[in-house]
Each structure stands twice: as structure tokens, then as C-alpha cells.
């Protein structure tokens, strides 16, 4: 078997060229996982920025809530951070890497669960296929998933108690089951940063309790960092470090979760 060519950002760093080694050194000094400087994102064809003049720093191992009314720019924030929306002003660093130049490398290490992701019933993919795909970027071009990759994907599915769904067609699962598959997909890549966009909307109460528990566990064991966009804040209050409230594309509150929640209620 050929040794894997690592095109992605990994902690080993051994396969990197010199330029990125320098960047790694920068990362080591900086504890901020995400640093956003004066960022405004404009959608193509729009004139008004969906988020504007955002400044935000998220430290390693932090668990941050992003709150705010509909259309306030929460989803836009997440997709600007992982570089899916490249049309922004300002500067964004993730793991110390400029997202504008290193977007793909960053995305190999960022788990993303999009909002309201639902699949048509006839989609020719199994739940396991979808979870495994989370690792594809990390595995690298021209490489095939190996035993360890399979094991890792199954491990995450067991963690979320969906291992028996693995061979089932994704489209035939319930909304909640699909949502858990999407979370498993994001976790399968063993992300350093996890971005969750309203991940609890379709989950039953039992899973709403389980998913935060798993995230907490990964925070403790792997030093993961997480941003969660949600309305369902009560389950996680005890472990959440910060609440960031968006309104009309601007950060209006960046406080402890209790205070953020309080201000959010006053705003209404």
C-alpha cells in the first residue's frame, strides 16, 4: 500500500512543505482556533451584506452558542468561517491559517452540519456512505478509505447509537435519524473545530440530551472546539462558555450564556 499523501492539515505535519511548517509554528503560538477580523459577507447578486463588521475570537476548546432571530446571519457566519462563502471582506484565520488561501486544508479539519439537510427517498447512498464521506477530504486525492477509516466511521455511528442504520439507504431514514447521520459525518473526520447549524431541530428529547453529551465528551478527550447555532439552549447551558447573539448581521451580544440568553429575551 502506498503511503498516504496528506494534502490536508494534520497535527503530524511531517508531510508538509516548508511554507506550511512556518504556518504551523504560528498556529502553535496562537491559541485562537477562529479569529474573525472585520468580516462582512455578501451573497452573490446581493448588495447588502448578510453579516457585517463581525469581530470574533474563539479559543481552543471553547463551546460557543450562536443565537439570534431568523435571517440574522447565523448560517452565513458558519459558512464564512469554513470558507464555503468566499465573497467576504476582512480576514478570517482558522487554526492560524488564512481561510482565503487555505480554505480546503481548513475544511479537512472542520466538521460542518448544515441546517435542515434532508435527502430524497430514492437517493442511492447508504447512511454509512454518508458518514464515511466526512473523511474523504482528509484521506486525500487518489487514496481509498482503509480499514482504519472504516473503523473510525463505525465508531462514530456506535457513539451516536445509529450503527444499525449503517447499511440503510439514507433517504429512507426519518428526519431525526438523518440528522444524526449528518452529525456522525461531521464527527467522523475527527474535527478540530465543529460547526453545527441547528442540529437539534429534528431530534427526539433523548437524542437532544445525548448529542450534547457526546460533544462535551469530545471537548474533554480531544480538545475539540464547537460553535452551535440553535434555539434549543437549555440542554447545554451547563457546559457552554459563551453566547454570541446576532441581529441584522451584526454581533450585538458576546457574553456568558446566561447573559446572552437574557439579552436575547429582552430584545424580543
Amino acid at each position: 500500500m502506498i503511503k498516504r499523501i496528506n494534502i490536508c492539515f494534520t497535527s503530524s505535519g511531517s508531510t508538509f512543505n516548508e511554507a506550511s511548517k512556518v504556518k504551523d509554528a504560528v498556529t502553535a503560538q496562537e491559541s485562537a482556533i477562529v479569529r474573525i477580523e472585520d468580516v462582512s459577507t455578501v451573497y452573490e447578486g446581493e448588495r447588502r451584506p448578510a453579516i457585517r463588521d463581525v469581530n470574533l475570537t474563539i479559543e481552543r476548546n471553547e463551546l460557543v452558542y450562536v443565537l439570534g432571530p431568523n435571517a440574522s446571519g447565523k448560517t452565513t457566519l458558519l459558512e464564512t468561517i469554513n470558507g464555503l462563502l468566499p465573497a467576504y471582506r476582512g480576514r478570517i484565520f482558522v487554526f492560524g491559517l488564512n481561510v482565503r488561501n487555505h480554505g480546503r486544508r481548513v475544511r479537512c479539519e472542520v466538521g460542518y452540519v448544515p441546517q435542515d439537510f434532508m435527502v430524497e427517498p430514492g437517493e442511492p447512498y447508504t447512511a454509512f456512505d454518508i458518514v464515511m464521506m466526512g473523511r474523504y477530504g482528509k484521506i486525500g486525492v487518489l487514496q481509498r478509505p482503509n480499514e482504519a477509516d472504516h473503523e473510525r466511521a463505525m465508531e462514530v455511528m456506535r457513539l451516536l447509537e445509529i450503527e444499525d442504520l449503517a447499511p440503510r439507504p439514507i433517504g429512507k431514514l426519518s428526519g431525526g435519524q438523518q440528522q444524526k447521520v449528518m452529525i456522525a459525518r461531521a464527527l467522523a473526520k475527527e474535527p478540530k473545530l465543529l460547526l453545527l447549524d441547528e442540529p437539534f431541530s429534528n431530534l427526539d428529547p433523548e437524542s437532544r440530551e445525548m448529542v450534547p453529551r457526546i460533544i462535551n465528551q469530545l471537548h474533554e478527550e480531544k480538545g475539540m472546539t464547537t460553535l452551535i447555532v440553535t434555539h434549543d439552549i437549555h440542554n447545554m447551558m451547563k457546559t457552554c462558555h459563551r453566547g454570541v447573539v446576532f441581529r441584522d448581521g451584526r454581533v450585538v451580544v458576546d457574553e456568558t450564556p446566561e447573559k446572552a440568553l437574557h439579552k436575547l429575551e429582552v430584545m424580543r
Partner: protein, 276 residues
């Protein structure tokens, strides 16, 4: 009957098999990646290009490839960025390419070129040479090797391009690779069915297979087989009824598509859901 000539017959069968594999395979990517508009436009670009080749006595393969590439180059970025709806662009490119093709064919010097004109318009198995067969075998092998190596990425992009991008895959590079390969395949398939009908070969086997199979790994194998099957059936029909091969192949493959839609478990489920 000229058909019974062994050499011609052998090349015809080989042409059907190779074209069936290639279009059936690339069609799956084109349909699933929702770049049908590009495939469609490239087909007619290749048609106009082949017509130019015949008119100017250049190699129609080269000119067809050139026109397909230009079309892909023009329409690709537009469809990719969704700045302009792909449908809108297709509606402009299609008549443009048709008009060009007919102008070129009208300009064609008449002496001895009728069969070449016919092969560009309707396809002509008889004009398939041994060289054509060699090209197609090479193309088939190259395509299969390339797809084997980038299957993982294509598999993910066919599920959802945005998610694939979010997982660190360079989706644009792979979508463009598919566009490029499809352009080459279209160009080489023109001899079989002609430039007017070539798109059906790309679209029908893939869409039929996607109607009734629910495992992408099976789809990618069955669609080329179905392409081979419909091509050979079309060839047989054309032999018995003495009709143009290309038209017969498209008629058979459209019939297969219609049947697959009617018996599709997906469609049945949809109806059941609506009844509920």
C-alpha cells in the same frame, strides 16, 4: 446486403459496445451532478464542429472537440456560478449551434461527401474505420482508469456538491474533469448516432438506471451495460427495418427510459405518498 459484410458488422458491434459503455458511464455523472445543461450544449457544439470539419475537409473529430470545448468553456462558468440560469444559456446555445451546423453542412462541397454529411447528422456505422475503433478502445480504457482513481471524490460530489466542498474536496476540479471527459466521449460518439441525437445516449441509460436502482455502486455498473444493451438492440432493429442506426438506438433507449419510469419503485413510492 452491405450489412452482412463481416468487417463492417464487427466494427458496428464494437462501436455500439464502446459508445454504450462510455456514454452510459459519463451520463451518470452528468445527470447526478446536475450538469445536464452543459452536456446538452456540448453535444450540439460537437455537432456544429463536426459539420465544420466536413465542410472544410478537416478532421471532424478535431473540430467537434474544439466546438464542444468552446461551448463548455462558455457555458461552464455560467452554469457553475448560477449567475444566469443554465436553462437560459442552453436556450441560446442550442439554436446557435444548430444554425452553425446547418450553415456548415450547406457549405459542404457536394461531390462525394454525402455519406460524411449523413454521418454527422444521423450517424453512420458504415463510415466507422478501424482507426475509430482503436481511438474508442483507448478512450474507454483511459476513462475507466481515471474514474477508478477519482471515484471517491465523484461519489461524494454526486451526493451533494456543497457537502463535498465542506469536507475539503476540490469539487470544481472534479466537475470540470467530468465536463471535459463528457466532451471527449460525445465527440467520439457522434459517428454512431449523429450530432442531433447524441445527447440521448448520455442521458437515457443513466436516467433509466437511476430510476430503479438505489445503490450508486450498482448504478455506475448497470448504466454502461444498459447503454451497450440499447445500442445493440437499436443496431438490430435498424438492420431488420433498414432504418438509420442512430435513430433506432435513440428510439430503443427512449422506450427503455419510459418503461423504467413507469415501473420505477421511486415513482410508485411518490404516488403512494401523495395518496396518503
Amino acid at each position: 446486403m452491405i450489412w452482412l459484410e463481416l468487417d463492417i458488422m464487427r466494427r458496428a458491434v464494437l462501436g455500439c459496445v464502446l459508445t454504450g459503455i462510455l456514454t452510459g458511464l459519463m451520463g451518470v455523472f452528468v445527470v447526478r451532478m446536475r450538469i445536464s445543461a452543459i452536456g446538452y450544449s456540448m453535444s450540439h457544439g460537437a455537432f456544429a464542429g463536426a459539420a465544420l470539419g466536413v465542410a472544410t475537409s478537416m478532421n471532424p473529430l478535431v473540430t467537434a472537440m474544439l466546438f464542444a470545448s468552446i461551448t463548455a468553456f462558455l457555458i461552464g462558468p455560467i452554469a457553475d456560478k448560477a449567475r444566469l440560469h443554465a436553462d437560459t444559456v442552453t436556450s441560446i446555445i442550442f439554436p446557435l449551434n444548430m444554425a452553425l451546423a446547418f450553415v456548415f453542412l450547406t457549405l459542404t462541397p457536394e461531390i462525394g461527401l454525402t455519406s460524411q454529411v449523413a454521418s454527422v447528422l444521423w450517424g453512420s456505422i458504415i463510415s466507422m474505420t478501424n482507426n475509430d475503433v482503436v481511438y474508442m478502445v483507448t478512450l474507454c480504457a483511459a476513462t475507466l482508469v481515471i474514474i477508478h482513481f477519482v471515484w471517491k471524490e465523484l461519489f461524494a460530489i454526486m451526493f451533494n456538491r456543497k457537502l463535498a466542498e465542506a469536507d475539503g474536496i476540490n469539487t470544481r476540479a472534479f466537475v470540470y474533469l467530468v465536463i471535459f471527459l463528457s466532451g471527449v466521449v460525445i465527440t467520439f460518439s457522434i459517428k454512431l448516432v449523429g450530432g442531433l441525437l447524441i445527447y440521448a445516449l448520455l442521458f437515457n441509460p443513466a436516467s433509466s438506471t437511476l430510476q430503479f436502482l438505489e445503490d450508486m455502486r450498482k448504478v455506475i455498473v448497470v448504466s454502461p451495460l444498459l447503454g451497450v444493451g440499447t445500442n445493440l438492440s437499436g443496431l438490430l432493429v435498424s438492420l431488420f427495418l433498414d432504418l438509420p442506426v442512430g435513430s433506432c438506438i435513440v428510439l430503443v433507449s427512449t422506450l427503455v427510459f419510459a418503461v423504467s419510469v413507469l415501473v420505477s419503485p421511486k415513482r410508485r413510492r411518490k404516488i403512494e405518498n401523495e395518496r396518503r
